[in-house]
Structures are given as C-alpha cells and as structure tokens.
C-alpha cells in the first residue's frame, strides 16, 4: 500500500471517530440499550470484509476460503439478529397517547 492511500485511510478513520462522538454524545439514557444493540448490528459491517476475504481465497487457499465463509456466517447472525432485536425493542417504546388508542 502506498503512503498516499495509507494517509487517506487514516484520515477517514479519524474523521469518522469525531463524527461518531458528535452524533452520539447527546443520546437520552432511555435509548442506551437500543443504541448499543443498533450500533452492535452495524459492527457486523465486517460482513463486507468477510465476503471479500472469502472470494479472494477461492482459487488460492482453501482454509482461507473456509474461514472467510465462517466469518460471513457469524457476521450475518450479528447483522440480522442485531437489527431485528433492536427493532423489536424500539417498537415497545411508546408515548402515553399511543397506548390508549
């Protein structure tokens, strides 16, 4: 990897970190659990890396391909499970008026 690409990736990393801090620092405490499980689902983004890693190993390295496949499996559980469970939780948070209807 050349120096320019490296600096660009590090740049993206730092900006994303600051953006994350700005986005999340004012979340009310009642939403802490959905926030955690929702971001937990996002950390399953590693599925993208898993798919790429599995594919580049197909012709060259069987173990790498298998490990990549297992990584896809677990990342998918993380993603799908995380999003559905968060949605289930958020569906329960209701205001007073909504409940009486």
């Amino acid at each position: 990897m050349d120096g320019q690409t490296i600096m660009l990736l590090v740049f993206v990393f730092i900006i994303a970190a600051f953006l994350g801090v700005e986005l999340i620092s004012k979340v009310p405490s009642q939403l802490h659990t959905p926030l955690m499980s929702g971001t937990n689902a996002i950390s399953g983004i590693t599925i993208v890396g898993a798919i790429a890693a599995c594919a580049i190993n197909v012709d060259n390295h069987v173990l790498g391909m298998i490990l990549g496949g297992i990584a896809i499996l677990f990342a998918t559980i993380n993603v799908i499970g995380g999003y559905f469970v968060t949605d289930r939780m958020l569906a329960m948070f209701k205001k007073k008026e909504d409940k009486k209807k």
Partner: protein, 472 residues
C-alpha cells in the same frame, strides 16, 4: 480503475451516509425506529456493493455459492434468535451478538493473511497492512472471548456465578498483551515466511486468552460498563479489518460504532463514579467495614396488608427499579400496580439510575415491554429534586444505586457515586428477597432508616398481592 470499482466506491459512500443518518435518528425517541431501518438499508447497500465488486466476481461461481449459503444460514439463525429471545434475556443476547462480530473480524483478518500465503495480490505485505491486520486479530479476539465470558456471566452459568479473582491479574494481562504484540511484530518482520505464521498464531491464541482473563474478574454490577466497552472493541475490530483491503465503508462504520461504545463506557463509568482504569485493573475490595458500625440497627419489616394501607393514602409514588426486578421478572406486575395507583388518583413515576441492571438502559427496555410510557421513565437527575415531596418511594430489587452512604459516608467504597435519593421520600418501601447485601457486598444504611420499611419476599409476588389488595 475500472467502472465497476468507481461504482462500488459510490455505493459504499451511499451506505456510509445511511449509517450516519441512521445513528443520528437512533439517538431520538421519536425517530429511533426509522434510524434503525435506515442503518439496515445502509448495510444492504454495502453488501450488494461488495457482491458486485471485481474481487468477488473473480472468485466465480464457487465464491457466490459459498457466500449466498453462509448469508442464508446466518440470516435464518439471526432472525429466529432475535424473535425468540425474552426481553429479560436481552443483555446476554447483545453480548453474544457482539462476540460474533468480534469473531468475524478476527476471522476476516486471518483469512486475509491466508490470501497472502495463497499468493493473492489483493492484500499487501507492507508494514501498515501487516500492523493493521495484526491489530484486527488482537482486538477482534478480545471482543470475541470477552463477550463470551460476559454472556456466560449474564446468562448466570453456574461456573461463572461467583466473582473470580486472579492473583496478580495486572501482570498476567500485561504479559499476555505483550505476547500478542510480539506476535504482531514477528508477523510484520516476515509476513510471507514461517516466522510470520508463528506470529499470527501467537497473536491469535494470546488475544483469545486475553479476552478471558480481562473480563472474568469483573463483577455483575460492573457489566453495563464492560458490555459498552466490548461493543466499542467489536466496532474497532471491524474498522481495522477495513485497512488491509483499503475498504472505506468498513473503516467509517466500524469507527462510528467504536465511538459510540467509548461514549457509553464513559457515561456508565461516570454514573458509577469509577474510572475505567480502576474497574479493569483494581481488584474489588470485599466488605469494607462501615465507620458507623456502633449504631447497628435492625431493619423494620412490614406485611403486604399494612403496606397497602399506606400505599392507598399516597398521593405520589416513585418506583426505583434495579436488577432484582429483572430477575423476578416483575415488570408486568409493576405496571399493573402502577395502573391501580393512578386510578386511585396517585401520581406515579419511575426513577431510573443509569447503571441499574446489567446493561445501559436495561430497566427502560423491561418497563417499555410492560407498556409503561416512556414519559414516566425519569432519570435520577430529574427525580431527585422531587424526592422530598414524594409520599412513597418503592425500591424494587435495587440496592447500591439507592445507598445513601454514597453521599454521607466518606469511608464507603460507593462514596461519590450519584444515586437515586430514595431515602428523602416520606416513606420508603424496599422490596427484597432476603437480608443480603448487593452485588458489591456493601451495607446499605437505607434499610435501617426510620422512614424505611422492608417487604421481604419475591418482588413479583409482593407487587401482585398489592394489586389484589387494591382490587378488593
């Protein structure tokens, strides 16, 4: 650069925007559900983008078959799991899913290493690539085994029930971490030789061990902090997994998760008045003796019938729930009691301490499940000024978060921790299973105060009995 590469990066950009908007909306009660949906759309776009990328296309039919099968299996498992879990089992589930994310990132890095061994040019062998690959394994593995231990503790597996202490654990943890770092250095020296293989193996095994030794000594009450921390780690692992293949969407979204985890960790630490370092590195002190040992009083117990008579006359009631409410699964009974009290013309609120329960916001989720509207769920800061005007504070399965020693006893280990000032209410009911101390083993002077009465027994039964009394 081929057109398809441009198109993929364009899609990654759209996906990142969806993640950012999604997290922003997730932070407000009215839009949270939409936010979660947006972030899941972002995830879908990112997955489609990688599926049409040149790398995967070059893998041919075999690659597509494996990928589709793995995604299908994972989707089914994840979906069923998410639908079936009880709300009381939520902390364990979040911990477990988090562990899966960490495991996946670790495997991605190892698989990337395999690609180098297999002669693929998709992953470089320069120092930056090697370091980030090693760090992905390190962080991912710690997130994986750490989350598994947290899951075991939260699920109440027998062998993890007691707090385990490791003598000299700081030295052991530092030693294991140093070994993992040495493994990364070995790998960086010769990524394509046997030395590199040894390095990868050393890093993987020692990092897996580190996750165990780091989390196993942490007690149940400190779980909200450690779960947030592990959440941050799994995000960071995903971000680092993006570096070796230069994938920006991994870096951006992983980093967003990392930031959110770190912020939650700090909020939880502040709510417990502990520094994160002290939680990880200090061994918990057992039973610090109270300074006011001389005036030892017995707590007053009261029957449910007598408690009902006081409750019937109350104009304002504040519930203070804790982990005990989750254990007794008393949230639905509490909601019923809340309804009959309101019918009786009484104002009912809930005062929820940030670290009540086993994960951030644990009590809010349980009470929301029982249909308590979220306007009634107040924070400790909101409720404390109103406490002196409250007729009855009902403490359900909470202990340390209502311990007045945190305010007035400098010798107490809890001193300085912000609490729910339940002791300021005119009368305090404490629903408790027996005369034990909380997870921290610290005496609670609230129980022996003049305005406090204890109602012993299972919290769910006690609350249900109170409801029955009202209905008669």
């Amino acid at each position: 650069m081929e057109f398809i590469d441009f198109f993929c990066i364009f899609l990654y950009m759209i996906a990142s925007v969806f993640f950012i908007m999604g997290i922003k909306k997730l932070g407000k009660a009215d839009t949270a559900r939409k936010g979660n949906l947006m972030s899941s759309i972002g995830m879908g776009i990112a997955v489609i983008s990688v599926l049409i990328s040149q790398d995967v296309f070059d893998g041919g039919l075999v690659a597509y078959i494996i990928i589709i099968l793995a995604i299908a299996a994972g989707s089914v498992i994840g979906f069923i799991w998410a639908k079936k879990v009880e709300m009381t089992g939520m902390p364990q589930l979040v911990a477990l899913f988090n562990g899966f994310g960490g495991l996946s990132s670790m495997l991605v890095a190892i698989s990337q290493y395999c690609a180098i061994r297999g002669g693929s040019y998709a992953v470089g062998t320069d120092a930056f690539t090697s370091i980030t690959l090693g760090l992905t394994i390190l962080i991912g593995a710690v997130a994986f085994t750490g989350s598994l231990i947290a899951w075991a503790k939260l699920a109440g597996l027998k062998m993890f029930k007691k707090n385990i202490t490791i003598p000299g654990k700081n030295f052991i943890n530092a030693g294991i971490l140093a070994t993992a770092v040495i493994g990364i250095i070995l790998y960086c020296i010769a990524p394509e030789d046997v030395l590199g293989l040894v390095g990868i193996l050393v890093t993987t095994l020692s990092s897996l061990a580190l996750g165990v030794t780091l989390v196993i000594t942490i007690g149940g009450g400190d779980m909200p902090v450690i779960i947030s921390f592990l959440n941050a780690l799994s995000g960071l692992a995903a971000a680092f997994a993006g570096f070796p293949i230069g994938n920006t969407v991994l870096i951006v979204s992983g980093c967003l998760v990392g930031a959110s985890g770190v912020i939650l960790t700090l909020i939880m630490c502040k709510a417990m008045n502990k520094s994160f370092a002290s939680l990880l590195f200090k061994t918990a002190k057992k039973k610090a003796s109270s300074a006011a040992e001389g005036e030892h009083k017995e707590p007053k117990a009261m029957s449910v019938e007598d408690a009902f008579l006081i409750l019937e006359a109350a104009k304002s009631v504040v519930f203070v729930p804790g982990y005990g409410m989750a254990v007794a699964q008393a949230q639905h009974a509490v909601k019923e009691l809340c309804d009959v009290l309101e019918e009786n013309g009484c104002e009912v609120n809930f005062a929820i301490h940030p670290v009540a329960g086993r994960m951030p916001g644990h009590m809010n989720v349980l009470l929301a499940e029982a249909n308590v509207p979220y306007e009634q769920l107040k924070t400790a800061d909101e409720m404390n000024p109103q406490m002196p005007n409250t007729d009855i504070a009902i403490v359900i399965g909470a202990n340390d978060v209502v311990n007045p020693a945190a305010i007035n006893d400098e010798s107490s280990p809890l001193y300085g921790m912000p609490i729910v000032n339940a002791y300021e209410a005119r009368t305090v009911f404490v629903l408790k299973r027996g005369q034990g101390t909380g997870f921290s083993g610290i005496e609670n002077p609230l129980f022996t105060m003049d305005n406090t009465v204890m109602i012993y027994g299972d919290a769910k039964q006690t609350v249900s009995q109170l409801v029955v009394e009202f209905e008669n």
